[in-house]
Structures are given as structure tokens and as C-alpha cells.
Symmetry: C2
Subunit: 497 residues, 2 copies
């Protein structure tokens, strides 16, 4: 029994080396790969994906699992690992290796096509890639789903175990009226000035500033890097965690927010137990929980009044003359302006989830065949008008803004909303546990918060299902209450109400 378990873990750890290698190849593709290397890189990533899939679905993996399952003894760690491995194995076995390989190659190529198409705001150039991708995702969903179950659910379950479209709809329905009421209330107040956010700041200065904040958060540069890419992301190449952000001369708060967001993801990855690397206990439990870590640092720290007490002197030191004449209060206000916009990643806390809702509707329709890819831009623009009240001027700022569908991430977007809810509930629990977060943030002492998250979230890996993790860490099941209360408390103050 022990021999089977040990063999299983050794096999998984070795497979995980390929996962890390593939992550590095994908990181390089986004940060520095020369353009002419795209085709070969797609082949390399496809092969690594197929090799990982073959190793994960080898018959002996099933035999080791079955042997272990016949012996219910062993500690809780072992039981949790086996539970999660059974889930992974059964899911992986449903996918043919050829489909996995073709998906990986198409993801890599479609991503490069997306970069070019977005730059040119040319949906027609991206359309064949998206059509191919939708087709492959439907095939994938058909392999995974039980007969009659929604395709979307089968894909979403890979990102957030147990998440279904039917389960999400009431959540969105609960969020919408209170967010709308909040916006109406804010309309009676004074919008904060955003002059600071629009100052022209040298990119090298922005980078030094952002690096100082990320280091203060406790991101370990001994086992990580911070680079630049078109679309900020965080990836784990095997204990070596890589963040990216982007710098725009006229939007220093965007660089900061993106970097704090990705560093939140990075702290989660760096907080996973190295001893469990390559096994479920050393992996993030779900993308919703992952997103809770990024959103907590981005919003509950980076957009907090207390944070700017500490951060403003740092900003002054790094950004110099460009921000002269402003103060902490101005930064806090600029970071909390609420304004329905076109771009999800630039959205404020009160409208962000409406962007998610649009994508959630669209990807279900694409998978079910109720929406043709050719009709996507028009339908996108229609939903933005209805949900956010904005007119989309071009596809670059419309349906070409996100890389996700090019990367094969269908059923993924709603994990952002779950992340917002988890984040608020975790921040409230940490606030109670630490006797108030504000004094720590105001002094730039992030260690107590980071350690609380490490203890209550990171170190568990996939030991507890997301719902149980939430219950244990916060004392309650997930709800929208903490999130809404947080916004209803903070934003009216900003608007002078």
C-alpha cells in the first residue's frame, strides 16, 4: 500500500517537472520570445501537454490509485491527496491525448494571433482562431460532461470544483441590485479627482515604485521575478514564481494595481508547501480562491485608505516631480473612482463583476451554439450597452480585450467574481483576527496579513475543498455580504456622502 502511494507520488512529482518546464516556455512566449519562434513554441508546448497528459492517464496510475483506495488507513493528508488524485485521474482519462495536444498547440498559436489582432483591432483576423477554439472547447466539454449536463459546467469544474452556471446565476442576481443602488447613491456625491492617476510618469520610475511595494508585500524575489507583458499574469515554473505587469506613462495606478494583483497570486503560489510540490496538497485549490488572493491585495490593501498612509511617501520618493503637489488622500481617492468603463482589468470594484457577467453569458451561448463567433462583436457591444451603459467604439476595447478565450479558458471568468467575494470575506476575517487591518497597513507592516493568509489559505493546498476552506477561515459559507458591505462602507466616504 505504502509502495503504491510512494510510486504514485514519485510519478506525479516527475510529471510536475514537465508542468514547470511548460510554464517557463509559456512565460517566455509572453515576455521575450522573438515573433518568429511562435510556431515552434506551439509545437513544444503541445508536446509537453501531451506528455503530461499521457503520464497522468497511464494505466499504472489507475492501478496505484485503486491499490491505495483499498486501504482506507493512513493520515488525513494521504486521504486528501487520494481524493483529489481520483478526481484528476477520472477527469483526465476522459480526454483523448490528441485533443489535449491539439488544444495546447491551438492555445499557443491563437494567443499570438490575438496579440496581433488586438493591436490592430481586427476581429476578422482573430475570428478563425476563435472558431477553432470554440470547436475544440465543445469537443472537450462533450468528453467531460455527463449526458444532458451543460457544456459550460463541465469546463468550469476544471477551474472551480463544483461551480455551475445554475449556481452562479442567483449570485449575480443578488449582486446586481445592490451594486446598482450603490452607483445611484454615489451619483449624488462628488466624484474623486483622478488627476493623479493621469500624471505622466517615467516607466523606469514606475517600475522601481512597483517593485518596492511588491517586495514590501513579502513576495520572495529569491524564488521569483517581475517582468513586463502585454497582459499581466502570474505563473509558477516550479517554486520559481513569475509575475508580470505593464507600464503606461499616463497610468501609474494601473501598473501598481496590476502588480499588487499578480503579487497576491504570487504569494499564494509561494505559500504552497514545497514538500508537497507536484501533488494536490501542494497545488492551489481553485481559481476562485486564487483570485481571492490577488483581489485581496489589489483592493482590500491597495485601495484602502490606511495603505496610502504608508504608500504615499514611497510613491513620492520613487515617482518624484511627476506627483508633486498631491497627497495620500488624492491617491486613495483616485484609486476609488467608480465609473462604468470598457475594460475589465481597469474596472473599479463596483462595476468589475458586470464585465464578468457579460462574458459569462457569451461563453455559454458560444458553447451551446446559440451564438456564432461571427456575431460575437455585435452581441458583446449590445451587452455592454445593457449592463454597463457604455458604447464600445472598437473591438480592441470590446471583445478583443481579453486573452482568455485565445488561451482556451472557457468557464473561467466567473472565478473572478467568486474571487471578489472570497477576498472580501477573508479580508473581514483577517481584520477581526488581527484586531483591525488598518493600523498594520498604515505602517506598511504586511507580515501579519500575509501570515494569516498563509496559515488559513495557502498552506492547505487542495487539502480542503473551497467551501470548507472558506467556512474554516471565515466562520461562514461564501456569500456576497462582506463584499457588498465593504463597498457600501468605503465608496460613499470617497464620494463625500
Amino acid at each position: 500500500m505504502t509502495a503504491a502511494y510512494d510510486s504514485l507520488l514519485a510519478h506525479l512529482r516527475e510529471t510536475h517537472l514537465l508542468t514547470g518546464a511548460a510554464a517557463l516556455l509559456a512565460w517566455d512566449q509572453e515576455t521575450g520570445m522573438p515573433p518568429g519562434a511562435g510556431d515552434e513554441r506551439a509545437r513544444q508546448l503541445a508536446l509537453l501537454a501531451r506528455l503530461q497528459h499521457e503520464r497522468r492517464t497511464e494505466p499504472r496510475v489507475g492501478e496505484w490509485l485503486a491499490t491505495c483506495e483499498r486501504d482506507p488507513d493512513g493520515d488525513a493528508d494521504r486521504a486528501a491527496n487520494l481524493r483529489e488524485l481520483r478526481r484528476d485521474f477520472d477527469r483526465a482519462r476522459r480526454l483523448p491525448a490528441a485533443l489535449v495536444e491539439e488544444l495546447a498547440a491551438t492555445e499557443s498559436r491563437a494567443q499570438l494571433a490575438w496579440v496581433a489582432a488586438r493591436a490592430a483591432s481586427d476581429f476578422a483576423a482573430f475570428r478563425p482562431w476563435l472558431e477553432r477554439m470554440v470547436d475544440l472547447q465543445r469537443q472537450k466539454a462533450d468528453c467531460l460532461r455527463e449526458p444532458g449536463h451543460p457544456r459550460w459546467d463541465a469546463l468550469a469544474d476544471g477551474f472551480e470544483p463544483g461551480m455551475t452556471a445554475a449556481g452562479l446565476r442567483p449570485l449575480f442576481a443578488a449582486l446586481r441590485p445592490r451594486l446598482t443602488a450603490l452607483r445611484e447613491r454615489l451619483a449624488g456625491g462628488t466624484p474623486p479627482a483622478d488627476a493623479l492617476a493621469r500624471r505622466q510618469v517615467d516607466e523606469a520610475r514606475q517600475e522601481a515604485f512597483v517593485r518596492a511595494v511588491v517586495a514590501a508585500m513579502g513576495f520572495d524575489f529569491h524564488r521569483g521575478r517581475l517582468d513586463r507583458s502585454a497582459h499581466p499574469f502570474c505563473t509558477n515554473t516550479g517554486g520559481d514564481v513569475r509575475l508580470t505587469t505593464r507600464f503606461r506613462r499616463d497610468h501609474v495606478l494601473d501598473a501598481l494595481g496590476s502588480a499588487m494583483h499578480e503579487a497576491g497570486h504570487g504569494l499564494y503560489e509561494q505559500g504552497l508547501a514545497p514538500a508537497h510540490r507536484g501533488t494536490p496538497l501542494g497545488e492551489p485549490v481553485s481559481l476562485g480562491v486564487h483570485e481571492s488572493q490577488s483581489r485581496l491585495w489589489e483592493n482590500h490593501v491597495g485601495r484602502a485608505h490606511a495603505f496610502w498612509q504608508w504608500c504615499w511617501p514611497l510613491a513620492e520618493r520613487h515617482l518624484g516631480a511627476a506627483v508633486a503637489g498631491f497627497a495620500a488622500e488624492a491617491a486613495f481617492a483616485a484609486a476609488n473612482r467608480v465609473e462604468p468603463g470598457l475594460i475589465r482589468v481597469e474596472a473599479d470594484e463596483a462595476t468589475y463583476d458586470l464585465h464578468v457577467l457579460v462574458r459569462f453569458e457569451l461563453e455559454q451561448d458560444l458553447l451551446d451554439g446559440d451564438l456564432a463567433v461571427a456575431d460575437l462583436p455585435a452581441r458583446w457591444n449590445e451587452l455592454y450597452r445593457a449592463q454597463l451603459g457604455v458604447e464600445v467604439p472598437d473591438d480592441r476595447r470590446g471583445c478583443l480585450q481579453d486573452v482568455h478565450w485565445a488561451c482556451g479558458l472557457f468557464g473561467y471568468f466567473p472565478t473572478y467574481t467568486l474571487g471578489n467575494l472570497y477576498a472580501a470575506q477573508l479580508a473581514a476575517a483577517a481584520d477581526r483576527a488581527l484586531g483591525g487591518l488598518a493600523p498594520w497597513l498604515a505602517r506598511g507592516e504586511f507580515q501579519p496579513l500575509r501570515e494569516w493568509l498563509r496559515e488559513n489559505v495557502h498552506r492547505h493546498g487542495r487539502r480542503l475543498p473551497p467551501a470548507e476552506l472558506c467556512q474554516r477561515a471565515t466562520g461562514a459559507p461564501l456569500s456576497a455580504e462582506s463584499f457588498l458591505a465593504h463597498l457600501e462602507r468605503k465608496l460613499p466616504t470617497v464620494y463625500g456622502l
Copy 2:
């Protein structure tokens, strides 16, 4: 028959994807990997090495080969591919997968240990790694060699097919007296001033200058990059060729020479036929020939009088005030100063091969057990005194200067000397074919030389054995004559003789 050949090539091409992935991981290790990632990276590289080895030595590869060999028909390309594949297969089959994997892991780790040990000039810290490496190399040589044959030859054959210690000794014996006579002759002249080489030049300016030269050489940045590393190198991640150089404020000619050297390697890699990628016809034929490409650009172009006619205005433009008051003549002179020194990669053309000779002697003794690793520093210093007449002040500038042994490259150094000889003979042949190289270089028109090399060297891959390639391209077998004539013609002029 065709089916077997097609299967064989498809299998090789797929295996080659892992080679490219491993090259990227190794590139990243040298250019940007955070220090804490070294252990996991070593594991990743070891697994990729084992997977490649397993795929190359699968029984079905032997079966496909045997089937193809039973059918002697087919074109010359096929015959050349099969000849080289047989060589590769038989060689690979002699190495156990476990040894290949352990070598890869030790190479990756020993390299990181070497970086730290060199920085601290701490041989004791590197010693256990080198002991382990020598032991593994002896095991490897014992797997590869015929009974009674030298270990060194078995390893060298992997870098330069057919190269043996016995074959090299007369070559070194022929070089030494004429190089010594040349140095004695130069001693009666006036050493060129090296004030230019010692000017303090901002690194960013150096980089812009070096990039302009590398681009003018025709290196394709659409399928390549230029980065920084402690030890300059060139690697091919699968059609995407990556060069590194280094910048020192007080040595702009070092950055230029290193970059031109690596770009010479890079042009060879980029000149291989993409249609043959992953098969012998798409691979460099030997490391001696590879080095001929780097040395040709570094020395026969970058240290040529005519080159500086073109390059000096470019240098002035990029380096600015730091080089004000100098002229093309000063740059040419500074690039051609002959002075026995401590560091191989900084050596002039007339003493470089004496550095190689030292290493050639030492690695034979290490492999044969005639020299203990513990005694290496003393023996190294003794040989430098005897061969170059210099006193080694510390191990950083002594036996810790080169990464090669840490990387498992035993039997490799003499390919540098072969490269010098090939380079001179190829440069002379190109000079004849193009009606004199100088006028082209003086105008910065490098295309005719590059195309001549592409036509006569690059595009062949491993189609012709090195000796035949040399005969066809230059009309003569390899000898030291062109190299010595080149130095005896150029250097006395520089020394005013």
C-alpha cells in the same frame, strides 16, 4: 522503407522539441532565473535529458534504422541522414539513461556552484562538484570507449567526430614554434596603445553599439535575441537563436568581441535548413566548425583593419564623448594588441591556443586519474607559468575562469583551436571567392560573406563530415597554414614592423 524513414524522422523531430525546450530552460538559468530556483531547474533539465535519451534509444528507432539500411536506394540526403543517425544511435545506446539523467542534473547544479565559487574565488567550494563531475565523465567515457582507447577521445568524439588526442598533439606542436617566433618578432616592435579599450563607457551605450553591429552582420532578431549573462553563449531553442554577451564599463571591445563571436555562432544556427530541423541535416556538423563561424566573425572581421573603417563612425555615434579623440586606426590597433594573459576569453589571436593547450593537458590527466581535482589549481598555475609565462594570482583568474567543466564539457576545449584554423582557412577562401574581403568590410556590407558561409558551411548541416566540408569549401584539407599566415601578415604591421 519510406514508411520507416518517415516514422524515424517524425520521431526525431518530436524529440527535437524537447531539445529546444531544454535549451530554453538552460538559457533562462543563465540569464534571469532567480537563485532559489536552481534545484528544481536541475531536476527539470535532468528529466528532459532522460526523456530525450529514452526517445533516441528506443528499440523501434533501431528497427526503423535497420529497415532503412537494408534499402540502399534513396537520395544523398537520406543516405547522409542515415549515416549520422546510425552514429548517434549507437553512441546513445551505450549510455544508461540513469547516467544521462544524473549528468544533466549535476551539470545544472555544478554550473550554479561554479558561478558562486568563481565570484568568491573559492576553489574549495567548487571542488566537490568537480570531483563528482570528473567521476561521471569517466563513467561516461568508459561506456563509450573501445577497450584500451583513451577516455578523452571517447568524449571528444561527441563534439568533433574523429578528433583524438593523438591527432591534436602534432597540430599544437606545429603551432607553438611559429607563434613563439611571431611573439619574439613583435617584441621588437611598438605595442599598440590600448587606451581606447580602457575608456569608461556606459553599459547602455555599449549595448546599443553592439546590437547595431550584430544586426549589420545579418543576425535575424525576428528569430533570435541578445541578452546578458556572466559567460557569453549562444543557444538554439528551436529556430529561435539566443545570444548573450556581457558589458564591462571599462572594456567596450570585450563586449563587442563577445557579441560578434556569439553572433557568428548564431548565424550558423540561423543558417541551418529549417526543413531539416530535428534531423542531422539540420544540425551543426561539429563544434570545431561551429567555432570557426564565431572566430571568423570575431577575428577575421572584427579585428580587421577594413572593418574598423566602417565600424568607427558607428562606434562614435553610439559611444559618444567616451571615445572622442580616437580614430578607426586606434580601434584597430587596440583590438590587435598581443599580450599573454590569464583569461582565455580575453586572449589575443596569437596566444589564445596556448590557453587551450593548458586545458587539453589537464583534462586528459583528470580523466586518466593522473591528476587529482584537489591538485588542479597548483597544476593549472604551473602550466600557465610554463606556457604563457604568467603568474596566476587567484583561482578566479585561474582554474575557475571557465564554466565548461562544470557543464560537463570534457574533450571540448580543443575544438576552439580547430575553430581558429578552420576560420582562417575559410576566411582565405571567402577572400578569394569574393575578390577580396576588405572592400566589403570597409563598407559594412556583410551579406556576401554571410551568404558565402551559408552556401559553403551552414546549409549543409551534417551532410558532409567536417574534413570533407573543409576540402570542398576551401579546396584543401585543414592545416595551420592559413591561420599562421594571417597572423604573420597582420600583427607585424600593427607593431610597426
